[in-house]
Subunit: 159 residues, 2 copies
DNA sequence: ATATTTTCAGAATTTCATTCCGGATATTTG
DNA sequence: CAAATATCCGGAATGAAATTCTGAAAATAT
C-alpha cells in the first residue's frame, strides 16, 4: 500500500478531489488535476475508484427551491398511533411519493418522525397538511415549525 | 411566446429535463434529448437557459455520508440567550465552519434553530456538542434528537 | 539489493459538448 | 385572412473533454 491512507482507504489527494467535486462536479479532470497536483490520467483513475467504491454515490443538478415554486420550508414532527413494521413501512412509502417532502428522519424522543417540507406559502402548507399528510391513517399528533430562513445546506458533508 | 409555459416560464419539456438532471446530471445531452423527445441541439439550449436563469443553480457530487466517516445523524434544537442581529450573524458564521453541521434552519416556535448534524457515533456527537457547538457563547438551551434512520433526502424538490 | 506493486505522466483515441446553419412552426400585425 | 416576425427545431461540423493505452518512476516488500 504505497499511499498514506486513512481507515477508509482515502489519502490526502482523494480528499482534495472530493472537496472539489462536492461543490462542483462540472470541473474537468484537467482542472481537478491541476488543483490537486496530478496529471489528468491518475486524477481520472482516482475519481473512478471513488465512484466504484461508492464514496461518490452520484452526480446531481441542484435546483433552486424558490424558483421551482417552493419558496417556503416547514418542519413537521409526527407521532403515529402505533409502530408495527407494516405501518412504518406504509408511512415511509407515503412520504416518498409526496413532492413537498424533502427530508425524512425516523427519530427517538418526543416524536417519531421529523419531516422537512417545501411548499408555496402558508396556503401551500395547509393544503399539504390537510390534503396529503393527514390523509394517511394512523397519525396521532403533529407539530409544525415554520422556517424563517435556511442558513446552511450541505448536500454532502465536508471531508 | 410559442411554448406553453407556466408562471415560471417552464414548459413540460423543461420539467422533464429537470426531473432527469435532478437525480443524474451525468446524462449526455443526447440521452436527455432522447428521453424528452428532442434532438441534441434544442435540448442543450434549454439546459443552458435553465442554468442561466438560475433554476439549475449548480452541479455536485453526492458523497456517501457513512463512507466518509459520518454514519450517524442528530437533530439539535437550539435557543440563544438574546437575538440581536450581530449575535445571530455570529452564530450562523460559527455553524458554517463546522463540518459536522449539514443543515441549519432559523425557526419560529419553541426553538430558534433546528440543526442537522452528521457525526461518528454518540462519542462523535458528544465531542461535537461540548467541544464545538457549546463553545459558542450565548446558547441558552439545546435539545438533541437521535435519528435512527434517514428515510428520504431529496437534494432538490421534485418538479 | 532486487523483485513486486502501485502510482504516475504523455500521447492517441473516442465520445461528448458546443457552434453554425437553414427549415419548420407558431404568434403577431396589418 | 395573409404577411411578417419571432421562436423553436434538427442535421452537420467543430472543438473540447473523457477515456484508453503504454511505459517510466516511486514506493513497498522480500
Amino acid at each position: 500500500m504505497p499511499r498514506t491512507t486513512d481507515a477508509k482507504g482515502l489519502d490526502d489527494t482523494d480528499r482534495k478531489i472530493l472537496r472539489l467535486l462536492r461543490t462542483n462536479c462540472r470541473l474537468t479532470t484537467q482542472e481537478i488535476a491541476d488543483q490537486v497536483g496530478l496529471s489528468q490520467t491518475p486524477c481520472w483513475s482516482r475519481i473512478k475508484r471513488l465512484e466504484e467504491t461508492g464514496i461518490i454515490s452520484g452526480y446531481v443538478a441542484i435546483l433552486d427551491q424558490a424558483k421551482v415554486g417552493r419558496p417556503d420550508t416547514f418542519i413537521v414532527e409526527v407521532n403515529l398511533e402505533n409502530h408495527d413494521d407494516e405501518k412504518i413501512e406504509n408511512f415511509s412509502r407515503h412520504l416518498q411519493q409526496l413532492p413537498e417532502v424533502i427530508d425524512v428522519y425516523l427519530t427517538t424522543g418526543e416524536f417519531d418522525y421529523v419531516i422537512i417540507v417545501a411548499v408555496d406559502g402558508p396556503e401551500g402548507y395547509e393544503t399539504f397538511l390537510r390534503k396529503k399528510l393527514l390523509k394517511f391513517e394512523g397519525i396521532k399528533h403533529t407539530r409544525s415549525i415554520y422556517c424563517l430562513r435556511r442558513l446552511k445546506r450541505d448536500v454532502s458533508p465536508m471531508v
